[in-house]
Amino acid sequence: MNFTLKIWRQPGRTSAGTFKQYTIDGVAADMSFLEMLDGVNQKLVRGGEDAIAFDSDCREGICGSCGLFINGRAHGPARGVATCELRMRHFTDGEAITVEPWRAKAFPVIKDLVVDRTGFDRIIQAGGYVSVNTGGVPDANAIPVPKHSAEEAMDAAACIGCGACVAACKNGSASLFVAAKISHLALLPQGQAERKDRVTKMVAAMDEEGFGGCSNTYACEAECPKLIPVTTIARMNREFLLAKK
């Protein structure tokens, strides 16, 4: 297969960016999207040109490093996968593919397709944890956790922090990311002591970072590589209200 790629190039945080066109041929259907981009980069490097910068690490959809906006979709057209898992069989031979970085005020572009997602870390630092120090904790089986609570907590905890929810949302909202962590910890007995404090602080941190609000369009759920449901957002809202009591 061969493709024409329109890729966003931006030298640095403050410089202006523009789309540049590249072509690649000899792409196999089983290749991953990032392997296809590796191929483009090899060509550039051989020609002495600056490679296209993009984040990627584990290449099995779990580290959350990769994230490209491909043909108008976060992580491309396939459902429930991160960019690194996306295979070229989802595209048709000769197709033109536009590749953009995540776009959000809270995710400034660092270079080309690399964006700064440290805002997510600051939200977690605001309260996305259980405040226990190492040592002095009860035996792991001391507090039973109903299986369905553990399963639901795990559904939410599966978030990889890639930012696709922000990228897909028309408001650049981080609601799904924040709600996933709040839901995970609200569903477990270990998270109860700080439950009210946590939601208040994390929501404040989310607003402070410049993420937009939730308009309940549910685009985040549709694009989440881990299929985290928007019912977590309902739970976050509920937790937020109950914390005001």
Binding site: K111, T134, G135, G161
Partner: protein, 639 residues
């Protein structure tokens, strides 16, 4: 003249050693802890847990990661689980049994004392993680569930679906975030350590490259902890993440830290086979799949029929046949070697004939597809996206791939390297796994090191000496910065014709062919002549475009690959010198009549700790003899 390594192993009965040692170690008074500054490199399970715990104790901690966020470290990709001898299943587990299984699983090439301590603290890890909110799998009664892993006949593996590493890392990351919020930890993202700085013979800081603007930055402290993971990417294709690399430990090795057992490489049996020449990495399918999947190949060599067309009596479930008591759950090294043997003998399946089947048809018939989906759904989905095949209908195709490196920087019982003040945790050290690591033991070791060992042992080191403040204006930092800048300039200045990627692939193929699953003196000697030639060519003919003062992935990769050449040579040297087979190190010359690894305990019951003597120069071998007082070495049997 080889020196004797002091491993600092305490005396007395093994079950009391760690307690006695903890009591005899010096303490730092709580008010004084804040006067000490510890630098942690890497934020995987070992690094994050160590940084968080040290900060909780009151130390000032600086953490560096080449990732944008601590949560991206590759521990996140561990799937199957974490071991602990809780005996919740009442199946006869105990600290002793985990200790025994691990020493045996490591083919009697690990330190007994370390392994016993690991087994001892592993229960506390589960307690700690549950308290942090790690959503481990539960039974209907609300208690924790377990599953079985290779090399064990009890169920002691705790898991969170197929994402155990992710959940444990997020637990440690959240603990770290809590300390960052309290300003007891300062985290610097996108910084890659490129040199270790020694002052008066002690580790006092690092030089790191700011990967966004390319500037070199110096960080100073009273001790340095390396928790930077393994070096499986020497082989180019591995289950490691793309950015996983050996540079931090290799540069520390060049500054004087000995490298232990570099040839011990774990080849994981259940990975998705290589598809095309473009492939950038290999994907692991969790070992937990071997709980319910059955491994087989066609009995007839070269049988090209579709798996469904091969009748039951024409299939060879070779692991069940060869190892009736462990069956599909033999340790990884055994399973990998047998798969290779089957394919070498013409029984391989798929287009490349370098694969065996992992079949769930029986499990689906027995318990239904939904049951399988609940347990392994995410793995089946991943398999489907990568191969386009539905493993509920056709068996998975798997083949071994480089996964983990048991070797690493040599450390003593206190996890300190041969450089005073430099500690090494997790996969980066030569570790507690001997010549082969059992499944679900890496997460255990990383967290044991970080949560429960380094917090004590580092205090002993800090309390034992006096530390004059060393500012980053010290000449040692300037020298290190200059040396790093020199390497970068050489890489950029070569302006040759071949890309870093091309060299890396070439080195990887060379290593896989000659220092992979089955090694011979002949092949190793060949590699030993070819690697230096390739390395010299690299320095002359590599092309690294762009500039050093920019976000430039090519500069990052060039540094890493430059180090792989040197490390690869050491791995080959170590493999060549070890004239025996043990665990992940299989020399074809040394095998039993049944094709099992044949150790030579007379000559090789030691840790090989190599001292750097200059690039291209022959390194100096130091030996730490291994004593087995409790688990008597024997031919490993999983029949």
């Amino acid at each position: 003249m080889p020196t004797t390594l002091n491993s600092q192993i305490p005396g007395g009965p093994i079950e009391k050693r760690w307690d006695d040692h903890r009591f005899s170690m010096k303490l730092v008074n709580p008010a004084n802890k804040r006067k000490y500054h510890v630098i942690v490199i890497g934020t995987g399970l070992a690094g994050s847990s160590a940084a968080a715990t040290l900060a909780e104790l009151g130390y000032r901690v600086t953490v560096l990661s080449f990732h944008e966020s601590p949560r991206r470290a590759h521990s996140i990709a561990a799937q199957g689980g974490i071991n602990a001898p809780k005996n919740y299943q009442n199946d006869g587990d105990s600290v002793w049994r985990l200790f025994y299984d691990t020493v045996k699983g490591g083919d009697y090439r690990a330190r007994e004392s370390n392994v016993y301590r690991l087994a001892q603290v592993s229960g506390s890890i589960i307690d700690q993680c549950v308290a942090q909110g790690v959503p481990f799998a539960r039974e209907y009664g609300g208690l924790l569930d377990n599953r079985s892993f290779g090399g064990a006949q009890v169920s002691r593996t705790f898991y969170a679906r197929g994402q155990t590493g992710q959940q444990l890392l997020l637990g440690a990351y959240q603990a770290l975030s809590k300390e960052i919020a309290k300003k007891r930890v300062t985290f610097y993202p996108r910084r890659e350590m490129l040199d270790l700085v020694l002052i008066d013979g002690r580790a006092r800081g690092v030089v790191a490259r700011n990967m966004v603007d390319g500037s070199l930055e110096s960080y100073t402290g009273d001790a340095v902890i390396l928790a930077t993971g393994g070096y499986g990417n020497v082989f180019y294709l591995s289950t490691n993440a793309k950015a996983s690399n050996a540079t931090a430990i290799w540069r520390a090795h060049k500054r004087g830290a000995f490298f232990g057992n570099p040839c011990y490489t774990q080849i994981h049996p259940t990975c998705i086979p290589v598809g095309s020449g473009f492939q950038s990495k290999l994907t692991l399918m969790s070992e937990s799949l071997r709980n319910d999947g059955r491994i087989w190949v066609p009995k007839k060599a070269g049988d090209a029929r579709a798996p469904g067309d091969i009748p039951e009596n024409e299939r060879d479930y070779y692991l069940e046949r060869l190892y009736p008591s462990f069956g599909n759950l033999v340790p990884r090294d055994v399973a990998s070697r047998r798969a290779k043997e089957m394919c070498d003998n013409g029984h391989g399946v798929g287009t490349t004939k370098l694969a065996v089947y992992l079949d769930f048809a029986d499990a689906i018939r027995r318990n239904g597809a939904d049951w399988v989906r609940e347990k392994y759904g995410n793995l089946f989905d991943m398999y489907h996206e990568i191969t386009g095949e539905n493993a509920y209908e056709v068996p998975m195709r798997i083949y071994p791939a480089v996964h983990y490196t048991m070797g690493g920087l040599w450390v003593d019982y206190n996890l300190m390297s041969t450089i005073p003040g430099m500690f090494v945790l997790g996969e980066a050290n030569f570790s507690d796994h001997g010549a082969n690591r059992l499944g679900a033991s890496a997460l255990m070791q990383g967290l044991a090191d970080g949560y429960f060992i380094i917090p004590y042992t580092i205090g002993n080191y800090l309390a034992s000496g006096t530390f004059t403040p060393a500012g980053t204006d010290h000449a040692a930092f300037r020298d290190a910065e200059k040396s790093v800048a020199g390497v970068t300039a050489r890489l950029l200045g070569a302006k040759g014709k071949k890309t870093v990627e091309e060299y890396h692939r070439e080195l990887g193929t060379l290593m896989w062919d000659n220092c992979g699953m089955a090694r011979t003196a002949e092949k190793l000697k060949k590699a030993l002549t070819e690697i230096p030639l390739l390395r010299e060519d690299f320095w002359k003919n590599v092309t690294v475009p762009g500039s050093s003062d920019d976000l430039n992935g090519e500069v990052e990769r060039a540094h890493r690959v430059a180090d792989y050449f040197e490390l690869a040579e050491l791995m080959v040297r170590d493999a060549l010198h070890r004239e025996e087979s043990a665990g992940g190190h299989f020399r074809e010359e040394y095998q039993t009549s049944e094709g099992e690894a044949k150790r030579d305990d007379e000559k090789f019951s030691y840790v090989a700790a190599w001292e750097f003597a200059g690039t291209g120069a022959e390194p100096v071998l130091h030996k730490e003899p291994l004593a087995f007082e409790y688990v008597k070495p024997s031919q490993r049997s999983y029949k």
